[in-house]
Amino acid sequence: MGNEKQMEQIRTRIWLEEPEPDNPFATKAAYCHGYDVYGGMLGKARWVEMLFLLFRGEAPTSTQSELLETLAVALANPGPRDSSVHAAMCGGVGGSTAASCLIAALAVGAGQLSGGREVFLAMEAWNCCGTNLEAWQRRLAEPADDIASTWPTPEHPPGFDPHGVSATTPVKQTLARLAGISAGARLSWLKANRSFLEVAAGRPLSMSGVAATALADLGFTPEQGEMLHLLLRLPGAAAHALEQWQYGHKKFPFFTIELDNDPAKGAV
């Protein structure tokens, strides 16, 4: 067989694979940013260290590992009241495929209310305002960017809870714990200035706001932070989806609906 065309290749700075001598499609060794994954990292590297390495290209410090791991525990299960987990359970209860349950959680958990896009926007705000309170106050007073895009116009300041009354205990606990670990400036600054920001936003700090701050302190870009937030919230969605399949649909709320234009009641 002639190979007239030049081979098209995928470029990557992340991953190098060396083939087994008997099969160019089989991996003998894989290197992540230069580290031998199966021959050197396995048994030594923690899951969060691998995550950090994949996105940042360097191994994390022990402080960064501890911060990311603590954040991962905080985000692992938003709980069955959360819309993304609710969506996953809608998949699970009907016996939908495992992937569709996670896709459901990702689609709902991608949004601007507690989701990945909110984290992205909040991290953009960190990039813009840093630890300058006046800059935050100015930004929080500005209307949201309403240029048409695939995303809707934000309806609340990212990182704050539009339906909250005050910052919840888990939000405060998570912020305090993460601020106690981080070597970055933002988490500590947020802990010290939370009340001022909440006044400026007119709303309490949310868990996505804390997550965005931690991810910024870890040096992730908004795009990386969005991806990680999506990933780190999946375990709970998966577990709850499986649980609802076991319970069965008769034990899952169906709720009631009230039509204001039911043709059977004479409405047009």
Binding site: E8, P19, G57, A264, V268
Partner: protein
């Protein structure tokens, strides 16, 4: 009313004007009995009625059908289609394949983003012109702020779909709307600086849809399955080939550009 009160008001039930099913009896779709009143609608007609709450003429529906038909390419190299094909090759399910492919179509350099940016641009520009602004000035201001979508194409500037859709629009007498006219005037202005900025399919579809009265949000929902028909063939063919044989990548297909080997 604070946030928790608003949530409390909405627990457990939904007030809706969109519809409901009454299992064992009937279903209501936007205030109409689905089976008694809407059963003869074709699928696109029902789909756009669900989005807009409006009814469209047979000519308008024909054009809307064509917008989907003319850009459904069963080419497994195209990035969104390739997802469906890879799913077939990896022996995933058709539903997951097509769902993921459509989700991926919500892209920046093609698909969702250009479509919504284009229709929003035409609607906004027309409003500005109605207020007395000069088109050339509006376009120049926009170009300085951000890219104008609906013109230019990632792989080639020529767009083979335009002739066909325009011919149909002409045949249906739907080619004289103000947004379509505007879209060609914008093209003329853009081409003076960059010959590659010919109108693309997103631009044409957006202009025609704006002339049919679609808002950007309605248009976003209408165009969701715009390339769907090209995806099942990609999935089927890959699913029928030996597993894993769609664009297999050997280690040599990966060009590593990262740091040298080091110790963990």
């Amino acid at each position: 009313m604070n946030g928790s009160e608003l949530l409390q008001q909405n627990t457990g039930h939904l007030k809706s004007s969109m519809g409901a099913c009454f299992p064992g009896e009937r279903a209501v779709f936007r205030g109409h009995d689905l089976h008694a009143e809407l059963k003869d609608l074709d699928w696109v007609e029902l789909y756009v009625f669900g989005i807009t709450g409006r009814r469209f003429t047979p000519e308008q529906l024909c054009l809307l059908h064509a917008m989907w038909t003319y850009t459904s390419y069963p080419d497994a190299r195209i990035w969104n289609n390739r997802v469906a094909a890879l799913a077939g090759s990896a022996r995933s399910t058709p539903t997951l394949a097509l769902s993921a492919s459509l989700a991926v179509t919500d892209a920046v350099i093609y698909g969702g983003h250009p479509l919504i940016r284009a229709i929003d641009f035409f609607i906004q520009v027309r409003k500005q012109m109605e207020q007395g602004e000069q088109l050339e000035k509006v376009v120049q201001v926009e170009v300085q702020k951000r890219r104008i979508y609906g013109y230019g194409r990632p792989i080639t500037s020529a767009d083979e779909r335009l002739t066909w859709l325009l011919a149909l629009a002409r045949e249906l007498d739907l080619d004289r709307g103000p947004h379509l006219g505007l879209s060609f005037e914008v093209e003329c202005i853009l081409l003076t600086d960059n010959k590659a900025l010919q109108m693309n399919y997103a631009g044409l579809v957006a202009a025609l849809a704006a002339d049919l009265g679609f808002s950007p949000k309605e248009f976003q929902l209408f165009t969701f399955p715009i390339v769907l028909a090209g995806m099942p063939p990609c999935f089927i063919e890959s699913a029928e080939r030996p597993e894993g044989t769609l664009f297999p990548l050997s280690c040599d297909h990966i060009l590593y550009e990262g740091p040298p080997k080091r110790q963990w």
